[in-house]
Amino acid sequence: MSTATAPARTSARPPGPPRRSGAATRARRREAAALVLPSLLPVLVLSVAPLVVGIALAFTDARLVRRPEYSVVGLENFERLLGNGFFWESFRIGMVWAVSVTLLQLVAGMGLALLLAADLRLQGLTRVLALIPWAMPPVVVAIMWRMIYSPNAGPLNAALGSVGLPDDVNWLADFSTALPAVVVVGVWVGMPQTTVTLLAGLQQIPGELHEAASMDGAGAWRRFTAVTLPSLRPIVTSITSLNFIWNFNSFSLVYVLTEGGPGGKTMLPMLFTYLEAFKNRNIGYAAAMGVVLVVVVVALLTVYLWSQLREEKGAR
């Protein structure tokens, strides 16, 4: 990730909000607590509690059997995991998948959002059309794309053939095209969400900023880089980090498309964890995999968010 170099830059900026008196700070704290409390309650019961149990399992040899007996084994699961070549290979594939899908989603979503925000005709219709992929359950999406990619009965190859290109590519089964082919499906699925998020962000930019820039004689590209992009930065940061997490975490779509094939080329790390947890019923070992995934992804995101935060501050 290119952002990894960002933290090296140091900036000596003073903390944003001006210092306040003690009483005011306490009042603000209370206010903040009151605002957050409604979110906190369901989350503590239904998310944090199961999560803590899940993480704790990583340090045990628990199995999913009736009347389980297990003991705490400390870091043993992690030591074992270090030597698990399959897991790390799938981790690598997962990274390639998540990074490429996230980047393409952002670029494609940004383009579409700008078009939808531009004052074009049939705006309402095109917006709804652009969102429809969202309304399809993942399993239907996967089956639909399997039909499209079909080597001998699919419209993609038929279309390629009709313009004289090779029409016998076995998209999902060829070792070189399988991963790119599923990446395209991943982008297709994730685009509406990225687009809507960015579109909402675009609408939020006060119109006078653009007007001011126009009056200064800035062209379209200049206005985009000088006004639009900086204003959107917090939203771009939020949606890319979330997209990255989701893409890294998703496996059901790819599983229906390729079942991890051909030859393991599309085996994502979550699929691995799933097999270990549910098929092998080694929930302790699987939990260790989950913890490793969390640690690595959160570390990557922290670096990313930190660098973004810096640039954000720098831009202000």
Binding site: V53, A56, L57, F59, T60, D61, A62, R63, L64, V65, R66, R67, P68, S71, V72, V73, G74, E76, R80, G83, N84, G85, F86, V139, S150, P151, N152, A153, D168, N170, L172, A173, F175, E259, G260, G261, P262, G263, G264, M267, L271, F272, L275, E276, F278, K279, N280, R281, N282
Partner: protein, 441 residues
């Protein structure tokens, strides 16, 4: 799994283990509770109140849903004290649902599934031993190999109901045009299959199409015909064996692909997808699950003349590994005896015959097979399919603990690489073995 532990329970580990144990204890105790609150609101524990059994059924074909309902209705009419309630569920995702239900103590009383997937639940202690409930009559009626596939540690853990075998479907027109006589013996050897495939391969037509998108299941099932057992022993002690018997079939497929008699595009497709090429006359024959006979009957273009060839036979016989659909009883069911009686009723010959007819599958008992054969004497394509029913054999892979993981992470990718021509037989064997060793390290 050979995880060697060093349990040094310090105070800190005890503190961590405390809440965990409590939660998991809840799991264990919850087991019995799950059935105290069945959907039918029988809150008061009145003695006269009928027992309600939840039956989670996976039947998906409309006809099979009807057949299942009919069997249940007649049971309910005959047994006012024991009412069975069907809870429909889908095949897709059922494993995840079951594992949560079992661990959360909320599994239904009667569970429909298949041997390969239900055996792990039996190993983990979730299924009732049905040995003492199964009548001698039924036991004698189930072919030995099939009974073996539902026997875990000498306990019968399920009643087998429906089976499928791999059959060769042929386009009669293409065979005749190539001057091939449609085989009609008791069985057909793989050599004969190859000969026909070679004879029918010409001008854009490949002799054979085989949907091997998930190659492992096919190779495990047909392996016994070449002496390929793949596993020795069971449970955590099982050992993988990859020898000539195991690689014979994959090599045969590779040879046929190389000489053009097997259409390469089909190797990465599902069986159903290959059927399109079969209907279009691009492949003369296709190896498919026997149930596809029903789909071919509805989907084939009008006038398409197809025939089911005799069961395949390899150098070691015509055996195919049995992986029957099953009905099991939850060990925490309050009424295991009643549930077993229901299973006994469900597997009576006429019930199994009607269900299998609806699903186009092979009944798991000899008498139901015979009943179906008499019923369908007029339909020539059913004869070879039902005949394949006598060749089912128990399969070691069903009882191997790490099989599911090995299949998905090692075997399937390795077979796919081999079939795509990326590796040779020696490398295939090494990959299978090395992956197995790594999983079991």
């Amino acid at each position: 799994m050979q995880v060697h532990r060093h349990p040094r329970p310090t105070r800190r580990t005890a503190a961590v283990a405390g809440p965990l144990a409590a939660l998991l204890l809840l799991t264990a105790c919850g087991g019995g509770g799950g059935d105290e609150e069945p959907a039918a609101g029988d809150g008061a524990g009145d003695a006269a109140e009928p027992v309600t059994l939840e039956f989670q059924s996976l039947s998906d074909q409309p006809a099979a849903i009807e057949a299942t309902q009919a069997v249940v209705d007649s049971w309910n009419a005959e047994n006012p004290d024991v009412q069975v309630e069907i809870v429909p569920a889908g095949w897709d995702g059922i494993y995840d649902k079951l594992i949560t239900q079992f661990n959360g103590g909320a599994a239904p009383d009667v569970i429909h599934y298949e041997a390969a997937s239900i055996v792990p639940f039996a190993r983990d202690g979730y299924l009732a031993d049905l040995s003492e409930y199964m009548s001698d009559e039924r036991r004698a009626d189930i072919p030995e190999g099939v009974l073996e596939s539902v026997t875990v540690d000498d306990q019968v853990i399920a009643y087998p109901t429906e089976l499928q075998s791999y059959m060769v479907f042929a386009n009669r027109g293409l065979l005749e045009a190539a001057g091939v006589e449609v085989p009609s013996g008791e069985t057909m050897t793989w050599d004969e299959l190859r000969e026909i495939a070679t004879a029918t391969t010409a001008g854009g037509v490949a002799g054979l199409g085989w949907g091997l998108k998930s190659p492992t299941a096919a190779f495990m099932t047909l392996g016994p015909q070449f002496g390929g057992e793949y596993f020795d022993g069971s449970g955590a002690d099982a050992e993988l064996v990859v020898d000539e018997g195991e690689t014979a079939l994959p090599e045969l497929v590779a040879e046929m692909t190389a000489d053009g008699t097997l259409a390469p595009v089909t190797l990465s497709q599902t069986g159903s997808e290959v059927l399109a090429s079969f209907y279009a006359g691009q492949v003369a024959m296709t190896i498919q699950g026997s149930f596809q006979a029903a789909n071919i009957a509805t989907d084939a273009p009008e006038g398409f003349d197809w025939v089911v060839l005799p069961p395949l036979e390899g150098p070691e016989g015509a055996e195919q590994a049995a992986n029957p659909q099953t009905l099991s009883v939850n060990i925490d069911s309050e009424h295991p005896e009643e549930a077993a009686q229901f299973l006994e009723f469900f597997t009576e010959p006429e019930n199994l015959a009607s269900l299998n007819r609806a699903d186009a599958l092979i009944p798991a008992t000899t008498s139901a097979q015979e009943a179906l054969a008499t019923e369908l004497a007029e339909e020539p394509n059913w004869a070879p399919i039902l005949a394949s029913g006598q060749y089912f054999t128990g399969a070691p892979y069903l009882f191997v603990d790490a099989y599911a993981q090995w299949k998905d992470t090692v075997a399937t990718p390795a077979f796919q690489r081999f079939l795509a021509g990326e590796t040779d037989a020696a490398a295939l064997g090494e990959e299978l073995q090395a992956g197995w060793d790594e999983i079991n390290a």
